[in-house]
């Protein structure tokens, strides 16, 4: 036992020594800068792509993303999380930021997203439009408390229908998972979610979706350590390049 602990101690010391050496060889002059971007979960794929472009255009800049529900993100920023840029999936959560006076610039609407019916591959329940969702099938939607659920309630009202979902999920991802796993016969998700899910689900458009167009605003956050870089990222997203990337993932123009 004694021998073992001595060996462990030697190994630990060696590791520390190595780590110390590694740190010493780096040049302290060009400090890498990290840009913290807090973005709605639905933006993950296009933003990661834009982040890589941004890193390619800016030497020694690392873009770090925090993808989560917009309300979770805004709550974290209000509690002091170090965000440089905030991109929300709805205006309501952006309003929470501006009400607290934490925006560094006026938020800009940069993209939109609309609802779509998602069904498992093969459409086992034979869903054709919004009205067919009221039949005897396992329908899963977002809870009215979250943005996708509010949009669901709007299209429901616009179509004069009343859904009887088997579950009201916390997030649009949860709805999509229930559809891809085949537990649900249909779910209401965003166009971008259907695009992301690939062959596992089929998307069905419906005209009432235009009644609930979700607008995504973006802004730089007050007290950011990198205000100029943050603004440059916002500019990238709102410029042609960013808009093309977003469109590639099914997002609509602002």
């Amino acid at each position: 036992m004694r021998r073992l602990s001595r060996v462990t101690a030697a190994a630990a010391a060696g590791a520390m020594l190595l780590a110390g050496c590694g740190g010493g060889t780096e040049d302290p002059a060009d400090d890498p800068v990290t840009l913290q971007v807090f973005a709605a979960a639905s933006l993950q794929e296009p933003f990661e792509e834009l982040g890589e472009q941004f890193e390619a255009e800016h030497e020694d800049v690392t873009v770090e993303f925090s993808f989560a529900g917009s309300s979770t993100l805004v709550e974290q920023i209000l509690q002091g999380a170090p965000a440089d840029v905030f991109a929300s999936a709805d205006t309501k959560n952006m309003d929470k930021l501006t009400e607290a006076g934490l925006e560094a610039a006026d938020p800009v609407d940069f993209t939109t997203n609309t609802l779509m019916i998602a069904v498992p591959a093969g459409n086992p329940a034979g869903v054709t439009d919004l009205a067919s969702l009221t039949g005897a099938l396992n329908l899963v939607v977002c809870a009215p408390e979250v943005p996708c659920g509010a949009a669901t309630a709007t299209v429901e009202e616009a179509a004069g229908l009343e859904f009887a979902p088997v579950s009201e999920e916390q997030s649009v991802t949860d709805v999509l998972n229930k559809v891809t796993s085949g537990e649900a016969d249909a779910g209401l998700v965003y166009v971008t979610d259907v695009a992301k899910a690939g062959d596992e689900v089929e998307g069905i458009e419906f005209p009432e979706a235009q009644e609930a167009v979700n607008t995504y605003p973006i802004t730089t956050v007050d007290d950011s350590a990198e205000p100029e870089l943050g603004q440059e990222f916002v500019d990238l997203v709102t410029a042609e390049q960013g808009q093309e990337t977003l469109a590639g993932y099914g997002f609509g123009g602002a």
Binding site: T72, E75, N138, A143, E145, S167, Q170
Partner: protein, 256 residues
């Protein structure tokens, strides 16, 4: 206490503070003026009712399944007992979400067993049954663990004595073994009830979330955070009080 070095009090105090501070901070955030109104809203009451209902059912299921399991694990020296114990304890270390996914592949519509149940017209996913399954899955190890420990500590002396006097195995079980470990059985049941009450990950993955059917208190708290943080804090505080009551109950039993 005399044998302990005095400096140990400092880290011990820090440890206690680390646990207590967040709870105190949460209690400080409760809006007491609206506390009653926040708790008695329809959605809160329905979640509370569903939580108590499912957790009690799950605790009962844990007793039905867990007591025989604990008996076998404690008394059998057959090969494979060790492996069985390891398997039964898996839900204890598994992230609940993973448990939920596993349950989905077993009891979901496309699942190993669920596929056949679906043919019979039985659907477990999105039902209260699914909530109970998820809770029982995560809570069972708590009962098995505390009961098995007590059975081992109690030993087999009294059981052997009863058997030598002519008692049949079933009579030994009900008149000697179970009364001996009754305190552990009670505290194990209380613990599994508490674990079921706090279940979140497996439930949201496997059962879904619908008011009155599958949306238990932890799911309601998580959802209320989106729209009404004050209500979420009030409900969290209630769950905390229940947790404290449960611990006091279980701990007293154990000491006795």
């Amino acid at each position: 206490m005399r044998t302990l070095p005095r400096w140990i009090l400092l880290p011990a105090g820090l440890g206690a503070l680390f646990v207590v501070l967040p709870l105190v901070a949460m209690a400080a955030r409760v809006e007491w003026g609206e506390f009653g109104a926040l708790l008695t809203s329809e959605s809160s009451l329905s979640a509370l009712r569903l939580s108590l209902q499912t957790s009690l059912t799950s605790a009962a299921a844990c007793v039905l399944l867990g007591v025989p399991l604990a008996l076998v694990l404690a008394r059998s020296d057959a090969r494979g007992t060790g492996l069985l114990r390891a398997l039964v304890l898996i839900p204890l270390v598994l992230p609940p979400v993973v448990g939920g996914i596993a349950l989905l592949y077993a009891f979901g519509r496309q699942g190993l067993l669920g596929r056949h149940l679906e043919v019979l017209g039985l659907q477990i996913a999105f039902s209260t049954t699914a909530v109970v399954l998820a809770q029982t899955f995560v809570a069972l190890p708590f009962l098995v663990l505390s009961l098995e420990g007590a059975l081992r500590t109690a030993g087999t002396r009294y059981e052997q004595a009863a058997a030598s006097l002519g008692a049949r195995p079933s009579r030994v079980l009900t008149h000697v073994t179970l009364p001996l470990v009754l305190p552990a059985l009670l505290s194990g049941t209380v613990l599994s009830f508490a674990r079921a009450l706090g279940e979140f990950g497996a439930t949201i993955t496997f059962a879904g979330s619908l008011q009155g059917t599958t949306r238990t208190l932890p799911l309601e708290i998580y959802l209320q955070r989106e729209s009404d943080p004050e209500a979420a804090v009030a409900l969290s505080f209630v769950l905390m009080l229940v947790a404290i009551a449960v611990i006091l109950l279980a701990h007293r039993r154990r000491v006795a």
